[in-house]
Structure formats: C-alpha cells, structure tokens
Symmetry: C3
Subunit: 462 residues, 3 copies
C-alpha cells in the first residue's frame, strides 16, 4: 500500500491583504506550505503534489526542489483542486492511500498526518475531526452510540440538536484512490458558490456504505491561516517549537519569547542568545558565541567564541574569537578572520579583515582587504566610490591607518605602513612608510575676543 | 430621555509615584481619562463633565477639545465630586439619566457603558457589579431569591455570611437626575475619612424604595489603576486591543506582543511590522512599507513601499520607496523624497533629500536642502553651527559630495558639482565645478623603523 | 535550637551544555546558588555550608563573602555530599536542625524554607513534597488515612497502585543533627550508580520509627534546573518577581515582560522604563530618569531627570539632567556631569564631560577631559592612540571644537578656544585662540564635463 499526498495550495487569501500568495507567507523562515510539506516527508509518500492557483509563479519558486505541482487554472473548489492534483500522479493503485492536506495549515504535525494515513486494511478512509467551543459554520460529525462516525452534516442541514455538536470535520482526508476518484467524479457544483466541494465526498462515500474513521486533533493543529492575526498566532506557536528544540539541544536563551530564529538556522550547543535577536536564512552560529541583545543576522556564518551585540549582519562570515558591535553593520562580502574586531559605528561591505585586525570606531570599510593585525583608526573611510565606479583598497599587515584617513581607491598600502590622522591618501603607500597629507597648524590668538566684537558690531548694525 | 455623563478624575494617585496626575498617565498614546471619554462618545450624551482636582491644570490640557470640566477644589469624596460635576450641567430634566464613571478605568468598554445607561422607563437607575475571587474591602451585592438587587452592604457592616459574597459594587452608576440629586443632598460625611461617598446613594435610594438594577461586568473592565503594576497590566490589555484591530485590518506583525502602537497611529493594510517597533502620536504608515526591527517613530508620516529598520524618526516625512537604516536618526524637519536613502550611522535634521538622493554612510545632514539624485559621501558633514548660530546649506541636483567633505554653512553648491574627499568647503561651488581643499601627500620612507628606534631610545632613557 | 544549612552545589549539569558549573548560571544577575542562599538568610542559621565539586574554583568565586564551603572531591551521591557538608560545621548539637537544600533551585522561597525548618519540639524532621501531574521517576509519598507521612517509596519499588500517587518527595529536608548523622552513617551504595543517596535517609529513619512531617510546595518552587529550557523558564519567573517588586515601589515600565533588570540593580520610584532595557550589575537609576527603548547598562550610575535611549553604557556615571542617545556608546570611565549631552553615533571612553558640555553627533571621545559648556562638533575625534600608547586630551571650558577636528593627543586646548572644521590639531591651543589647519579651497570649473569626456575616452579605449 503506497501513500500519495495532495496539498491544496491554490487559494488567494484576500483577508491577508498582501501581494504574497497566502501559502507563501513565511513562518519562522519557511513558507506556510513548506511547513506542511515537511510534515509529510517522514511518511515517505511515493508522490506529493502541490496544487497551485493564485500566485502560482511565486508559489512554484518557493516549493522545495523536486516538488511536483499541478496548476488549477480555475478556482472551482476543493473537490476540483483534489482532482487536479490526482491527475498529476502518474502511477496510482486502487488501494493506494491519498492524503489530502492544505497549504495554509503550518501547525500540522507529522504525528497527526501519520495517524491519518495509517489505514487499516479494512478501512476505506479516515478524516480528521476537531472539537470547537463554537462550531458555527463547520460540518458536524455524527457518531453512532458505539462511537463510529456515521456522517458529516453541514451547518445548513443541521437540526437544532445537531447544531450543538462541537466535533467538526477539519477537512483533512486519507482515502483509498479508487473510492476517492469515484466519489470525486460524482461531485456536483449545485451550491451557492458553484464550486465542487471535497467535503461532499464524505456523503457520497457514506451513501455507498463506506464509513470514514475519525482521527481527532486539537483545533490548533488543523487551523488554517486566513488573516494576519491568525498568522501572528501561528508564528508564535512555531517559533516556540523551534526555540524549544534549540533549548533542549543546549542553546541558552535569556528570553525565548523575544528570540526569533528561522527553522533553517543552525545554532550550536553552548551559544548564549540575548533578547531581540533575529537569525534568518542559512545563518549558523558556532559554540561559545554570545549573540545579542538586538542582533539581526541573515545568511551569516559565525564561528566559535565570538561576542556580537547590537549589530546587523547580512551574508557575512565571522571566524572565531571576534568582536562585533555595539552598533555595527556588516554587509555582504564581509569576512572577519579570527580575532578581528568591528566596533562601534563601523560599517563593512566586501571587506576582509585579517587575523587580529581591528576597526574599533566609526570607520567605513567598503571593497577592501585588510592584513593581519592592522589597526584602522576612528573615522577612517575607504573612498570606494568616485561617482562612477567602485574601486578596491588593499592594506597590508601590521599597518596603522590614522584616524579620519580617507583612502581614495584604487589604492594599495603596504605592510607596517602608517597614514597620518586626517590625511587624504590618493597615492600608494609602500611598506614601512608613513603617508601624510596635512597643512601647517595656524593659531589666531584672542580669536574669541574678536568674534565677540564682530558679533556685537553686527548686532549693532541690525 | 437624555444622557449626561460625569467622569470623576480628581484623584492624585499617590501610589503611582509620579508627577503626572493619575488620569493623565498615557496608555497606548492616550491618557487614561481619554480612553474613558472615548467609550461614552457613541452614546452621544447631551453633556459630559470631567471633574478635575489634583493636577487640574495638567488634566485640562489633555482633555479633548470642547470637553466640559468642573473643578473640585477640595477632596471631599466621590459623592461631593459627583455634585460638583452635576452643578456644571446647565440643562437637566428630572428623568434624564446621569452616568457616573471614573477617569482611571481605561479598560472600560462602550458595550458596558451602553448596558449601564440603557434604563427601562420603569427603572430609577443601574449600577455595575463584578464578581471577585477575593472581594475583601468592597461593598457586597445583596440579591433576593429572584435575582433582584436588594442592597449593597459595605465590608464593615457585613455578616459573616455576607462577607462570603463575591459579587461587589464596582462603583459605576446610571441614575435619573432627580433621585440622584435628592440622594446626593442627603449624604453625610460621618465616617473615618470625613468624606461624602457616592456609594451611600445606593442605601439612600434603597431606603426610599428605589432599587437599582445590576449590570454585571468582568473585573478587568472595571478595574481602576492605582499603581504602576496595574498600569502596566492595563497597557498590555489595551495594546492587545489596538494591535488586534490592526491585524484584522490587514497589518502584518511578526510579534504583536512586542509591537507598541499608539491608538492614534494609522497603519495601512499590507504593512509589515517587525518586533521592537514603537509608533507614536500622529504617525502614519503607508501600504507595503516594512518597518523594523527596532524602530521608533513619533509624529512621522511614512508613504508606501519604504524599508525602514533600526531607526529613530521624529516629525519626519518619508515619501515612497525610500530606505532608512540600519542605524539612522531622522530628526524634525527631515523630508525624504521618493526613492531617497538615509543609510547607516546617518543623522538628519531640517534636511530635505530630493528624489533618489542618497546619504548611505555616517553623514550628518542638518539644515540642508539636497537636490535630486545627489550622492552624499561617507562621513560628510554639514557644518551648520558656528558656535553662535545655525546656517543653511543648499546642494543642487546630480551632485557628488565626496567622503568626509565638511560643508561650512552658509553654503551653496550647484548642480552636477563635485567636492573632493576630505575637503573643507567654505566657498560656494558653481554648477559642474569640482571644489577641493587638500595639501600634497608626502611619504616618509622607513618610518616604521625610525619609530621603533625612537621608542627603543626612549625606553632606554627611562 | 539552632539551624544549620547545607546547600548541595557539586553537580556538573551536563545537560546545560555549558562551561559554567550548573549552579553558577546567572538568573537576573545572581548565580542560581546565590538565589538559594538568599532564601535562607532570614532564618539566620548559625552555619551555612555550600558543598562544591564540579567547577569548584568557579563556584567559590561567586559565593557571597564569608560563605563556608566544603569540597566534595568525589561525586559519590547526595548522601555523601551531605556528610561532606556536615563535616564542615564546627559546632553542632544533637537537637539542632540541619536543612538540606540544592544549589540549582533558584525559585525556592524563604516562606518554604521557614516552613521546612520550623520543627515542633516533638518532630525529628520534615521533608518537602510536591504534587506532579506526571510523577514518573520520583519517590512517592505514602500517607496513612490520617494524613501522616508513613514512607517514601522509590519508582522501582512502587506497586501499580502506588505508582498512581502524584505526591512526591522533592528532596529537601530539615532533620535533627543526631538522627541525621546516624542515618547518613547507615547509607550504602548498593545501587546501579554506586552512590550514597540522601533520599535513603527517609527509609532508615522510618525503620527506626522516626516519621518525617511533609511540607507541601508548588512544583515550581522546588524545581531544579537541569537544562537550558528549564533555566529559561526560571529566569522568566524570577524576572517577573524582580519587576513586580520594582513596579510596586513606583517604577513605571511600559512592558515589564521585555524589561530585564538584575536583582542587584536599584531603580528609584518615578523612573520610566521603555521596552528592551537591560540593567545589570551595580547599576542605579535616579528618580525622574527615562530609560529606553533599547538600552543596555552595566555597573552604571544614572542620576535624576536624565533621558537615555538606544544606548549602551558600561561602568559610566551620569549625573542629572543629561541626554544620551539615540545610538550612543558610553564605555568605562565615562562621566557626564549635570546637563551634558552625548548624542547620536557618539562613543566615549575615559571621558569626562563638564557641566552642560555637548557632543551631539558622531564624535569619538577617548581619554579626554572636557570643560563645562564646551561644544564638540560632529565627527570630532580624540586621536588617543598612536599605534603604541594611549594619550590624553584636555579641553577647557566654553570651547568650540569644530566639526571633524582631529585632536592628536597628548594635547591641551584652553578655555574659550576654537578649532577649525576639518583641522588636525597637533599643537596645544591657548585660551581664546582659534587653531586651524587647512589649505586653500580650489575650484576646477566644468569638471563634470571633463569627467564625462574622460570616461567616454576610456570606454572607447576598452
């Protein structure tokens, strides 16, 4: 018996008020539909088809590599979408199990999908139910005295007694291929919306004497996301799951409720994370590093024993034992080699700092390679842009760049060289040399007295 | 039948440990008493009087325009305060309903006030009750077997049996004018505090055969704020209400529990807000803008499609498609025209950036107008203050201000002009010209060797 | 009857994945074991011994001054550790009460320890119990019909019926010295781990007819911290306790759940704290100061009426009425005298700002003394490091340091002096003088046209 999965992900999600297709909304670094696909992976289904519609181009881009998709060109309802999905499955046996899920239920768990899909040989199918305090609008589950599910009755068809039933159809199914296909073929669009509803399959199967077995789930697990407040709630639940996994693996967080880590991020045991930290994308943090407060890191690799706080880092690489911040911005192409430092109000871009190199204060380092142990003075700037093109600066080892030095690229400065404070360096500096660009300091004595006098004169003229 | 509202807001709130009068404490951008006044507006009362006392000058300033106030010059209790309020109502009929509320209950809802004020023709008045786990200290509600309220008994007068009653008098009333005035006239100050208690009105009315109808409310809704921990709790509840309203309207928040938005702020559907964002005062955010993490904005207008993160903005205007941050400070008078950028470690004040103008790094831009597409180099500074007065800088379009250029105001720089890196510009620069202030770069070869030698010599002398 | 306390703090805490010994992990500014020691202080025990083992060197350093410790050189179980602790108590009477606690239960309260230690004359000892939903793994409490504790039965020895008992032994004891010593002497290591278990003392005493009296506690209070997720939970509980104490004392917090204050910090009533604030170590904040959003302060003294936001401060002193931030870093040795200001993108270190002195923008002030009312221009830098040593700058009163002035230390600038924008100042400046280092500004007309032409030529050559 093989399992096939159809994930319905064609909806627009108007109530999201967003240009993103609904199932593409990110939750802890994965699109909603990605979370759903993750839950089915352990079942090793022979095929998994994602039915796309609204925003199909966008959704196709975010699907995992190798995912099969089927395009529902018209929005004709969940029954129709399921048929579209099934049509994309090449090899399916009558007894195979088709699991139908939704792309907007990121809180789904593998445990529930496994319970849903584990049909006994005698069973035609299963459906997921959940029990709501206010079941208004949902199809109620009718059970016989022995607990068997004997039907699902829609809101509109409920007797007053049935309307009080709290157990409802969550809409997730696992049904054998043959009866499912037959039932789908029997659907009609005789309803207000003119759509083919997957839920009607239950009635068709029932009418044919085929009962579905109910699998009860918590409302949280099966809740679909249709609005920004539901999305915010789901994010909170999933972020808690991600953080709990990291805490149990030995990551220390001062306040897990204020720690935002994508599920795609790797954090080593022994890392200490302060509040207000965002780790996104392919970021990795090595053992013994201390991150935060208030750090944003995207696609950034951080080695061991670093201290990083109040910093923004994008596509940067930080080796071991470095210091970053407070108040630093590392832009793409930044590489901090072991023991180097990017301090306060320093920005880097396409910048390699050699081992033990330091830029402690207010420097702008763009398109530059800096040798080991070189010190960059406060306020030094690589003048990498001349208004037309970007140029590189090369700085050697054990060199001392004076405060407020302007390094006008293209420029090469040697090893053990010096630049004077406030100098504009436009010519290359050889090894061991001091380069300086400066006039003589002049003194105008009693200037404050003259200023006062001038001001008094000007005021008098007014 | 007309409705009049008296809001008692004269208390000092000693336990707040604050110079602010208690009812003036802000909650999500409105003073407490403002939230109370908001709840009564939908009832369209013919008069609303706020009774002020402690800190009256301050409270009067924060009342909405047109609000009527009455000054309670002596603190003689809630009954006296109510009389003071009623005296300020010019036209009142015997059958009119007087609603008495408090300025320190910001969690009050319009729903409750409506229930309170909706007297049946047969009713003399209503009072709000709530049920507490620990009712100690509150007047207990006595009910007949049929549920009718037959009295309120104060803690001190309770039998042991009555002391177990959890339903208590919340102190909010809606009573017809004539019986209320009569009862108030009958109050005495025969108690430990020597005050006239509004609550005694219930007993006086009861004694005259006039029963009040109870309206039950949740303890949260009627809780008065008397301490900083109660204020913090109230802020949490109200911030959740404000954020829930925004989420439902289509605003996306990654973590609503760390998003601080005044009720006075407008955020368009489709805006994405990261954690650690504070939006205050008259701030407005346009569609498609992404705000945060860690942004503070007060009285700032943000257009559409902007990306703003790690920034502080006060009384600024940002048009569309701009980038701000990470780490930027926009002070009052900043205008960013469409497509302009204020980047990392840049501060602006009274600064207009033209369309597509960019100041990407470490610039200070004060009292300046910058033309379209002009690029401000890293570390450039408008030297707007000479120790005596502030002066303006005018910069044209398509101009290139070199890194670390000091623009000594007053100064005018033309279109398509250039300034050299590290130059101090004191004279105007015409269109198309390059202005440069720089000496010649000198090289001192083998400087590092000489330094070493000198240091060795100095060390030897020690 | 005297009380002695033995705190077992020898464990390693492998599941913490940390180099820190388990009991040394900080919670709101105190190590876990410090919180436990705090709870016993009000009992005024005649002796308190901390039994240390793993990481003993580190743990000894963090114990409060005067604390007695005993080294358990081999990890032979809690019974052995208790014996080691008792051996360090010099004077102990047979009837004295020995309280045995653990170094990894920071949520313990004084109330519980008092209840535990308050033995009636007739009692041999007491033990703490707690009731768990899932008691698996814990020793169950057996009670007679009258409620008397008649034994503790370990998981492995439980009947099916006993296994359902939810009340378990929390492991905390208060036992008279003589019976405790006798029972400890009778312990054996006949178990899988080959350790001496303190819990076996209960059985030995029972066998001798000595029943212990149970003191029931909440699971939270007695929970030991064995993993990072438990540590995170404990931090949340304790931070809430600390913040609640501050709120009740009159400190205003906009969001106590995002306010991180060490228990060692003092905050005056009337202080207003915004979210994202971390106050650590010996930090003190004076009345009327506004702190945050997003401030980190360690060992920093802040006076009254200051406004500090978006700032990092370490070992700094701020007098009254100062402004700091947004985006400022105050490093050790910073002193801001009354009414001074450190503004945006300014960093200070070993820097004294006189009364009313201002550094509003992008300055680096290291190793400097600044006189009263002196103004430091944007981008000014004290060039305090020459690549070999750090040197000081002295600046007088009412002086005006021009924008981007480089003050090359050692350097003295007098009172009422001026430095020109962009000047590198290497020589001392006397009182009232203007010091300037600058070339003449040159203009190259029609530069933009020439650039265009040159670029066209170069492009043509390519």
């Amino acid at each position: 018996m093989s399992t096939h999965v159809v994930v319905l992900a064609a909806g627009q999600g108007k109530r999201m008020f967003s240009d993103l297709p609904k199932v593409a909304h990110p939750v802890a670094g994965r699109p909603m539909v990605g979370w759903v696909l993750d839950t089915v992976e352990p079942l090793k289904p022979v095929s998994t088809v994602v039915v796309v519609g609204h925003g199909a181009d966008h959704v196709l881009q975010i699907l995992p590599e190798g995912a099969v998709s089927a395009l529902q060109t018209e929005q004709l309802g969940t029954g129709h979408a399921t048929s579209v999905g099934l049509a994309a499955i090449e090899d399916i046996a009558d007894d195979d199990v088709v699991v139908v899920l939704y792309g907007d239920t990121p809180l789904l768990t593998t445990g529930l999908v496994e319970r849903l899909a584990s049909l006994e040989p005698s069973e035609v199918g299963r459906l997921v139910t959940t029990t709501l305090e206010d079941p208004t609008g949902y199809g109620r589950i009718l059970r016989a005295d022995n607990g068997d599910v004997v039907g699902v009755v829609e809101e509109g068809d409920c007797t007053d007694e049935q309307r009080k039933i709290g157990e409802v159809n969550a809409g997730f199914y696992a049904i054998r291929a043959r009866p499912l296909l037959t039932a789908l073929a029997g659907l009609t669009a005789d309803n207000a919306q003119g759509e083919y509803y997957l839920t009607d399959v239950v009635g068709i199967l029932s009418a044919g004497g085929d009962k579905l077995v109910a699998v009860n789930a918590s409302p949280e697990e099966v809740s679909g996301i249709n609005s920004q407040d539901q999305l915010a709630d789901a994010r909170k639940v999933i972020q808690r799951r991600v953080n709990q996994r990291l805490l149990e693996s030995g990551v220390s967080m001062l306040d897990p409720d204020r720690t935002y880590i994508d599920d795609t991020v790797e954090v080593a045991p022994g890392v200490v994370i302060y509040p207000g930290v965002h780790l996104e994308g392919s970021t990795r943090i090595g053992a013994g590093s201390r991150i935060g407060p208030d750090v944003y890191a995207k696609d950034t690799v951080v080695g061991e024993g670093n201290i990083i706080w109040y910093a923004v880092m994008r596509s940067a690489v930080i080796e071991d034992g470095c210091e970053v911040g407070p108040y630093a911005s590392l832009r793409p192409g930044t590489v901090l080699k072991t023991g180097s430092k990017v301090g306060t109000f320093v920005e880097t871009k396409n910048a390699v700092l050699g081992e033990g190199a330091k830029a402690s204060h207010q420097a702008y380092l763009g398109d530059v390679t800096i040798g080991a142990r070189t010190n960059i003075g406060a306020g030094a700037i690589t003048v990498n842009y001349d208004g037309t093109s970007k140029n590189r600066t090369e700085i050697g080892e054990d060199t001392f760049i004076g405060s407020d030095s302007m390094l006008v690229a293209p420029l090469t400065i040697g090893d053990r060289a010096y630049t004077g404070a406030g100098s504009v360096i436009t010519e290359d500096v050889p090894d061991d040399a001091l380069a300086i660009e400066r006039s003589e300091q002049k003194l105008i004595p009693d200037y404050s007295e003259r200023r006062r006098a001038r001001k008094a004169r000007l005021d008098a003229e007014d």
